[in-house]
Amino acid sequence: MKIDELKVIKLPTTVHDLALVADGTRLWAACLDGGVYGVDLETEERVLLGEHTRYASGVHALPDGKTVISAGYDGALLWHDVEKRSCFRRVQAHEFWSWQSALSLDGKWIASSTGQYLCGGYKYEPAPEREPSVKVYDTKTGELKASFEHVPPVQSVAFSRDGRYVAAGNLMGEIRVWEVETQELVSTWTTGDFTGWGIIKGHYYTGGVFSLAFGPGDDLLYLIGMGTTRDPAAGNGKQLWQAYAWKEEGAPKEAKSSGDETGQGLMEAFAFHPSDDWFVMAGRLESGQWNVAAFDRESGNLRASYNYKGRVCQGAFLPDGDRFVLGGGVSQGELKEGKFRDYGRVWVSKAS
C-alpha cells in the first residue's frame, strides 16, 4: 500500500474538524477563526456557513443532508440550515470550550466534551469539574439528553457504532464509557501511556487522549494521542494508538502501535477505512518519518505512511474508499505586508 497526495486546498486558518457530505463532493470544515465553511472538493469553492465567537472545534453533517451542527471554544453548539446558510438554533452546552464533539452514526445524538484544567493541587493536579464534562443532546430538538461526570479537561468523545454508548477520555488518560439511555457508567480505566507529566519546565500534565473510535462490533475502543513526555514544551511523545477491550473486566489493552514504526508527535485524527480492514491515524510529526499512516487492523502493523509537513486534526474516507481527506494546517507564519498567509489545509489523498 502507498499513500499519494492528490490535492491541497488552502483555508484561512487551521481546520479543527471536518465532515463529508454523503456523496463526498464537498465537506464542512470547523476552523480556528471560528468559521464553519463548506468546501467543494472539486472546484475548491468555499462558502461560510456560520461562525462561532471563538475557535470552531467540531462539525457534523446530519444524515438528512439539510442540517449541520458545529461546536466551538465558545462552548456553544450551533445548528445550521445548509440551504439557507443560517444558524437556526444555539445551545450553550458548556461554560468552557467544547474540546471535541461527536455524532452518533444514526445522527440521533450529538455529544460534546469540555473542562478547564484548573490547578487543584500542589503539583497542578486538575481540580474537580465545575460543570458536567460530557453532554449529549438530541439533534432533532436540541434538548439535553444526558450529562456525565468526568475529570476535566475531557478532550475526546465518541459514540459506539450502535449509538448505545458514549466514551470520553481526558488529559490524565482516564476513559469513561456510559450507556446513553440509562446514563450508567459501564466501564472506566486509566492509562498513563498518553499523558506527559512535566518535570522539566513545570509541574503539570500535557498530552492526553486526543481522539477515540470504536472498532467493528464495538468490541474495541481505540485511543489516539501522544506517548509520555517529560518536557511539556517539547511535544515529543511517541505517535500512539492503543486498542482496549473496554467491555471486559479491567479493560485490557489488546493492541497498540509499534514503537519501531512510529516517530514522535501528537496524533489527533483517526478514521477506519469503510472495509474496516485498516485505519488511518494522523497528526503532527516532531521527529521521524510521517504524520499520516495506515495501519492494518488485524495485525496492527503499519502498511503505508506519508509526511504532509503540517498538523492534521481530523480525517475521513470518501465513499469510494480509495480516497480520504485530512483537515489541519501549517504554521501561521509571520505577518507579511500586513497579512498572514492562509494556513488551513485540506489534504485529499489516495491510498492504493
Binding site: 486558518t13 487551521t14 480556528l32 477563526d33 465567537t53 471563538r54 475557535y55 471554544y73 468552557f96 470550550w97 478547564q116 484544567y117 484548573l118 490547578c119 487543584g120 493541587g121 500542589y122 503539583k123 497542578y124 479537561p153 512535566g198 518535570i199 522539566i200 519546565k201 513545570g202 509541574h203 503539570y204 500535557t206 518536557d231 511539556p232 514544551a233 517539547a234 511535544g235 501528537l266 503532527r284 516532531e286 503540517g310 498538523r311 494546517g329 501549517v330 504554521s331 501561521q332 507564519g333 509571520e334 505577518l335 498572514f340
Partner: protein
C-alpha cells in the same frame, strides 16, 4: 598574581557563584556601609516567557488573539485577558507596561538580561537584581537571608542552568540567593540533637578563625565564599521556622491556591513581612509554551491571576504596600502567530509586565502595541528602563557607580537610561 591572570582563572573555573571580587579588590568594609531600609521587593518570576496576549495585552477577535476574550478592568477603557478576572478588578492598584522591547530571544540570554538588567560584558558578571537589592536593602547581620529564591521546581532547562550560575557577580557570594526548592522547609538547618548552643558557637568560632586566616593569607575567593555560606547557614538556623508554611494560617494557604507557585508566593509575603528585602518566586518554566499554548494557559494564567490578586491585596491590607514592590514578569513575551504545534514561540519585540506597590503609580497603563500585537507603537522600553524604574521605585540611585577598584567602570544602570516615569508614583 596579575589581575588579568586571576580573571582568566576565575572565568575558567566555571563562573560559579563563589567568586567574590569585592573581597579581593576592596577593603572588607561593607559591614559598616550597610543601609537600613524598610523597602522590600517580591519578584514573581514567570520563567519561560509569559504570553502578553493571554495576560496583560489581549487582542481578542483578531488573527493573533487566540481563543480567549478580554474583560474590562477597574480602569475604564482598559481590558485584560478574560483569564485574569481578579487582577482586572484591582488593576487600579497596579501598573502595567505593555511596550517592553528587548533584544534577546533565547532563554539563557534573556533570563540573564531580565535578571541583570544589561547584556553581558565578559568576563565581568553583573549582579542580578536580587543581589543588588540584597546589598542595597539588606542587613548583613540580619538573621533572615537578604535574597531568597523560592523555587519548588528543581528542573527547568535553561533556567536550571541559570540557577547554577553566578547570581551575585562582582558583588560577591554574600549577595547570592538562599534557594529553597522542592519542599517548604529548609532541611538540615537545625542543630544536631544533644549539641549545645555553646558547643556550636565554640566550634563555629574556631572554624571562622582558621578559614578567615586562610582566606586573607591566600586571597582565596573559594574560602571567602565558603565563609559567606557558613554565615548564611548560621542565619538560616535561626530563621528556618520562617520557611515552614505549616505555621501560616490554613485560610491564607487556601486563598493563594493549592499550586506550588501560590504557596511559595504566600511564603514570600510572609518572609518580607519578617524582614527579607528581596524574595524571588519561580516555578520552573511553565510559561514556555511552544506546544499547547492555549491548553496550558487556561491553567497557569488563572493561577497567576489569583496569586497576584491575593498578594497585592494582602500587602495593602497589612500596610506593607507602600514599602513593598511587586514585579510580575518573565524574560520575554510570545509570538503573535501560532506555530504548527499549536504553540506560541519566544518574542522579545513587544511584551508586557506588571508591577504594584512601593513607588509605583496605581492604575498606570503604559505603552501600547499595534492591533495584532506585532510591534510596539507607543513608548518602547528596554531592560535598562525597567531596572532604572525598579531602583528608583525602591529609592536606590539607578546610576550609582560600583566601587570596583582596578575594574572597568560599571553603573547599576548603564547609559543613564531613563526610568519609566509614567509608572512611578
Amino acid at each position: 598574581m596579575h589581575r588579568r591572570r586571576f580573571l582568566q582563572g576565575a572565568v575558567a573555573s566555571g563562573g560559579v557563584s563563589t567568586m567574590s571580587w569585592s573581597g579581593l579588590f576592596s577593603v572588607p568594609a561593607f559591614a559598616e556601609q550597610v543601609k537600613r531600609s524598610n523597602k522590600r521587593c517580591i519578584l514573581l518570576w514567570c520563567c519561560g516567557g509569559p504570553s502578553q496576549f493571554e495576560t496583560w495585552d489581549p487582542k481578542p477577535g483578531t488573527s493573533t488573539g487566540g481563543p480567549f476574550g478580554s474583560i474590562p478592568t477597574a480602569i475604564p477603557g482598559v481590558h485584560v485577558s478574560e483569564l485574569m478576572p481578579k487582577c482586572a478588578s484591582i488593576l487600579d492598584k497596579m501598573a502595567v507596561i505593555r511596550s517592553m522591547k528587548t533584544n534577546q530571544s533565547e532563554h539563557t540570554q534573556a533570563i540573564n538580561l531580565l535578571n541583570r538588567g544589561d547584556n553581558p560584558r565578559p568576563p565581568f558578571t553583573r549582579p542580578t537584581l536580587g543581589s543588588v537589592l540584597a546589598q542595597q536593602l539588606g542587613q548583613l547581620d540580619s538573621a533572615i537571608p537578604n535574597f531568597v529564591l523560592l523555587d519548588p521546581c528543581p528542573e527547568g532547562n535553561e533556567f536550571k542552568g541559570f540557577k547554577a550560575g553566578n547570581w551575585a557577580g562582582w558583588l560577591g557570594a554574600e549577595y547570592a540567593p538562599v534557594r529553597v526548592g522542592g519542599e517548604f522547609k529548609i532541611e538540615d538547618a537545625t542543630r544536631i540533637p544533644g549539641f549545645s548552643e555553646a558547643d556550636h558557637e565554640e566550634r563555629e568560632a574556631l572554624r571562622r578563625f582558621f578559614s578567615k586566616k586562610f582566606e586573607n593569607e591566600q586571597k582565596s575567593a573559594a574560602a571567602a565564599s565558603h565563609n559567606a555560606v557558613y554565615e548564611r547557614v548560621k542565619g538560616l538556623m535561626s530563621c528556618a521556622h520562617l520557611f515552614d508554611l505549616e505555621r501560616l494560617p490554613q485560610k491564607d494557604r487556601e486563598r493563594y491556591g493549592a499550586g506550588a507557585f501560590g504557596q511559595h508566593a504566600l511564603l514570600a509575603r510572609s518572609l518580607v513581612e519578617e524582614g527579607a528585602p528581596f524574595v524571588m518566586v519561580a516555578n520552573g518554566m511553565p510559561w514556555d509554551t511552544h506546544v499547547f499554548n492555549h491548553e496550558i494557559y487556561q491553567m497557569v494564567v488563572p493561577d497567576l491571576d489569583n496569586i497576584v490578586y491575593q498578594l497585592v491585596n494582602d500587602l495593602k491590607d497589612r500596610g506593607m504596600a507602600e514599602d513593598t514592590l511587586v514585579v510580575v514578569m518573565g524574560e520575554f513575551g510570545r509570538t503573535p502567530w501560532i506555530n504548527v504545534k499549536r504553540g506560541r514561540d519566544h518574542y522579545p519585540n513587544a511584551w508586557s509586565l506588571a508591577m504594584a506597590g512601593c513607588g509605583i503609580q496605581p492604575g498606570a497603563v503604559v505603552g501600547a502595541t499595534d492591533a495584532l500585537g506585532v510591534d510596539v507603537t507607543e513608548s518602547p522600553f528596554t531592560e535598562k528602563n525597567l531596572f532604572a524604574t525598579i531602583y528608583q521605585a525602591l529609592g536606590i540611585d539607578p546610576y550609582a557607580e560600583y566601587e570596583l577598584p582596578n575594574l572597568p567602570t560599571f553603573h547599576r544602570v548603564e547609559e543613564r537610561a531613563d526610568p519609566i516615569k509614567e509608572v512611578l508614583a
